[in-house]
């Protein structure tokens, strides 16, 4: 068996296989769900010009008069060869979604680069100084920010920093023509809001993961041997808490790709969430499908990476009894 020679490789292969199956199911569910929604691209786009004749002509042209499963099979055939097709307005789907995806990834990466190290550091600090001021302070504030809906956090940030103090622009509408510094300046508020939203979750989970390891007998042993507390936390506890921390980080990274639509709307950030909303409103199925696949891929991919990290950090998981 290959599993003996390359246990991680085989795990990754099978997980990718399952991931592809999930993508297939996601695409089928989304496609059929959109087809069952009332209205079509033709009636949505024609608006008050949608006379029955005009709608019929457009549906004929786009092939929307065929049954949905035939359209699905045709779409799937093309998608399998990497062709995401054309949006109903006649632009290639990748041209429609591409720039939005780029913006989303930019926002997500900047946020992640700041959030992940910061969250783990704060989580470790909380665990190290459990019950002390910093722990209590961070626990309360993170609990508060986790309980607030993200749009409220966004509006508070905007009210204070954009409307009252006028330090940053209220709109994060970045555009092609802007240089990177200007883009960054415009992105400060959404990044700050996302930080507040995801930091809390990661800090609390890091703290909990470390504390649960700290309850193990070997930690007691290390302490009895005279290891200083900081060293116990960093050298003994943290390596064994990496698995759970990796999964919460993965979850938050996936959220940064697929769940930030509310933030995008509030700050007028041209990300992929708005692209999907726009597509759903117009019943533009090829674009909806592309967005859904991107979101699903983000979740599956980040979770896979998290699992690989947990296994590498804890080889026992490779040999389940």
């Amino acid at each position: 068996m290959t599993s003996r020679s390359h246990p991680i490789l085989s795990m990754v292969t099978s997980r990718i296989g399952l991931g592809l199956l999930s993508l297939l199911i996601v695409s089928l569910v989304i496609f059929s769900a959109v087809s069952f929604l009332p209205g079509s691209y033709a009636s949505a786009i024609l608006g008050q010009n949608a006379t029955p004749e005009a709608v019929a002509a457009m549906e004929q042209k786009l092939g929307l008069n065929r049954p949905w499963f035939l359209r699905y099979v045709a779409w799937l055939g093309a998608a399998a060869t990497g062709d995401m097709g054309m949006s109903f307005a006649g632009r290639p789907v990748m041209t429609v979604v591409g720039p939005r995806l780029k913006n989303t990834i930019l926002l997500a990466s900047i946020t992640a680069v700041i959030a992940v190290p910061l969250a783990i550091t704060l989580g470790v600090l909380c665990a190290r100084f459990r019950g002390r001021f910093i722990d209590k302070f961070l626990s309360t504030t993170t609990l508060a920010s986790i309980s607030l809906p993200e749009f409220l956090v966004a509006y508070i940030v905007m009210m204070v920093l954009a409307v009252k103090l006028q330090l940053f622009p209220s709109m994060a509408g970045i555009r092609n023509g802007m240089d990177f510094a200007d883009q960054l300046y415009r992105m400060v508020l959404p990044i700050l809001t996302l930080l507040l939203v995801i930091l809390a979750h990661m800090v609390r989970n890091t703290r909990a993961a470390i504390l649960s390891v700290m309850a193990s007998p070997y930690i007691e042993m290390a302490r009895l041997k005279g290891e200083p507390e900081g060293r116990v936390v960093l050298r003994q506890a943290l390596p064994n808490a990496i698995g759970p921390i990796a999964s919460v980080v993965a979850l938050n990274l996936a959220y940064l790709i697929s769940g930030v639509v509310v933030i995008e709307v509030v700050f007028v950030y041209p990300g992929i969430g708005q692209a999907m909303i726009d597509a759903v409103r117009n019943r533009d199925v090829p674009v909806i499908q592309a967005c859904a696949l991107i979101f699903a891929t983000a979740y599956i991919g980040f979770n896979l990476i998290a699992d690989v990290i947990s296994i590498v950090s804890n080889p026992r998981l490779l040999h389940p009894r």
Binding site: L37, Q48, T51, A54, G173, G177, N282
Partner: protein
């Protein structure tokens, strides 16, 4: 505002550019300057509209209906975004509708109908060039119209161009349109934003991709669903226009985000201000709420083929049983003009003023009796998107009608799919009508018995008058015909108009404009070339 004010502002700006002061300091100090200027300017505040247009500057518009599917093909345009940026900025029509509602030649120089308005000779303006340097020729016009015609056309202008049976080029400067039937309003139809004139391609078709129009602005950048940027066309064919150097369209779908963008100075103009946000704009001296009377109206429509709506007296009873003042005050917070069971807006040519129909329990009861009924019970179908406030309006209507012995069951429908499953399907339902620029166009889309959106109402006299008025070129006769038609709808028709609503925009006081047209949104889609900056 005086010289020294401008000097101080320029000085601040140059210090910011040099880096001598921070962005923040610039904001604080310029705001203080502005505030001082605003106070000093109060006595002259009302003169705003009378100021002569000034050249230069950038106008930024925060609009809500951009889509990532937007493109330059005029057949696909369906929003005020594409209408105002492409049609109103980059392209021109043969005819322009002025703010007062009259049709004026634009790319056309003049037009001439035959006696029954079925053949129109249109002479083109000379010396007009497209942005790519090509001169405007009759073939460009012909191809631009053919683009929307044909059997499989998916154009939004399909219903308009169906009336055209042929287009001929005559000489070097004339296009001849032959219509299937006479239509005295043909020049108005030529102003439809889909019917922009594009350069023709060799061998047929139009050149869409080069974004070369005849318009006041060149298309500088276009990111679908995000932003569009236009820069001044130095060779524009209208004197002095455009006033602005640059216009930027910025997509802001969320109403609160739009409000914030205006209040924090990110944009100078936002459209469709939520009625609840009106006070937040009005309490600042830097912004104003602009209300432009338009064609849009909210109504409850009846299918007159279905009992009890087939009885004209029941229809009248229902019309008398609605207290429109109450609905406008409580649901629309006073933002609306009272409807009078006439779909024709007061800003339209041929609008016929009739005595206002008001809430009257007695008259409602009287008409019920005439119909031989003691009471009547009807289902009224609404959803939150039937029109803004439709559910609240229906519930109030229920209360008003109950006093006249009419039972209205308010049926709440799902917003998603309302236009597919409820509108024109249920016999009594709320509708948000955008209106049409001419009476003929409005009637032939909705009210004649063969209209595509006819909800079941038909009236032989109405159809007859419609045909007569359409082919008549004498305005006095048309006025009489249309007056009678509006009276028929008012008395016999299937529409119960609750209110006409204004285009409600939030505007920075730094923008200047003359009278604003309301037949279409955004100054009849042409605000780019009509507006200017005052600072």
């Amino acid at each position: 505002m005086n010289e020294s004010y401008h000097r101080q502002m320029d000085d601040l700006a140059s210090r910011l550019r040099r880096g001598a002061i921070s962005r923040r300091e610039f904001l604080v100090r310029s705001t203080a300057l502005l505030a001082a200027g605003a106070v000093a300017g109060i006595p002259g505040a009302s003169r705003a509209q009378a100021d002569a247009p000034k050249s230069g500057g950038t106008m930024r518009l925060g609009l809500h209906n951009a889509s990532q599917n937007d493109n330059l093909d005029p057949g696909t345009w369906s929003t005020s975004w594409t209408g105002a940026s492409f049609n109103g900025g980059v392209y021109n029509n043969l005819v322009e509708i002025l703010p007062d509602g009259t049709a004026q030649p634009d790319l056309a120089e003049s037009w001439e109908p035959n006696e029954n308005a079925s053949v129109w000779r249109i002479k083109l303006r000379s010396g007009v060039t497209f942005h790519n340097g090509k001169s405007l020729e009759p073939e460009d016009v012909r191809q631009s119209f053919l683009h929307h015609m044909g059997e499989g056309s998916t154009s939004g202008a399909r219903a308009i161009v169906q009336q055209i049976s042929s287009i001929e080029v005559d000489g070097t400067d004339t296009v001849v349109f032959t219509l299937a039937d006479g239509n005295a309003d043909f020049p108005y139809l030529l102003s439809d934003y889909h019917l922009s004139v594009f350069p023709a391609l060799e061998g047929g078709g139009i050149d869409i991709q080069s974004a070369s129009g005849t318009g006041a602005f060149l298309l500088d950048s276009f990111e679908p669903g995000i932003a569009t940027r236009l820069v001044r066309n130095p060779n524009y064919h209208k004197n002095n226009k455009p006033y602005l150097d640059e216009v930027e369209f910025i997509s802001i779908p969320d109403a609160t985000a739009r409000l914030n963008a205006l209040l924090t100075g990110e944009v100078d103009f936002i459209q469709d201000v939520d009625i609840r946000n009106v006070p937040m704009i009005e309490r600042s001296t830097d912004f104003a709420v602009q209300r432009v009377p338009g064609l849009r109206h909210f109504s409850f429509d009846m299918d007159t083929r279905v009992a009890p709506f087939d009885n004209p007296d029941v229809r009248l009873a229902l019309k008398y049983a609605l207290d429109r003042d109450d609905v406008i005050e409580k649901v629309f917070l006073g933002e609306g003009r009272k409807g009078n069971d006439n779909p024709v807006s007061s800003i339209m040519k041929f609008y016929h003023e009739m005595p206002q129909r008001d809430y009257s329990v007695e008259k409602a009861k009287e008409h019920l009796q005439k119909a031989g009924l003691e009471t009547v019970s009807v289902d009224l179908h609404v959803a939150e998107n039937a029109f803004a406030g439709a559910i609240d309006a229906a519930v109030l209507y229920q209360e008003h009608a109950a006093r006249a012995g009419i039972t209205i069951n308010v049926v709440r429908e799902a917003a998603d799919g309302y236009w597919e499953n409820v509108w024109l399907k249920k016999p009594f339902a709320g509708v948000d009508w955008f209106g049409r620029a001419t009476v003929d166009w409005l009637f032939s889309t909705i009210y004649t018995s063969t209209a595509p959106w006819n909800a079941g109402w038909s009236n032989a006299r109405f159809d007859e008058l419609h045909a007569l008025a359409r082919a008549e070129t004498d305005d006095d006769k048309r006025t009489a015909y249309y007056a009678e038609m509006q009276q028929i709808i008012h008395d016999d028709g299937n529409i119960l108009t609750v209110a006409f609503v204004d285009w409600r925009n939030g505007v920075s006081t730094k923008l200047g404009y003359e009278t604003v047209g309301g037949l279409m949104p955004l100054d009849n889609m042409r605000m780019c070339e009509r507006w200017w900056r005052k600072d």
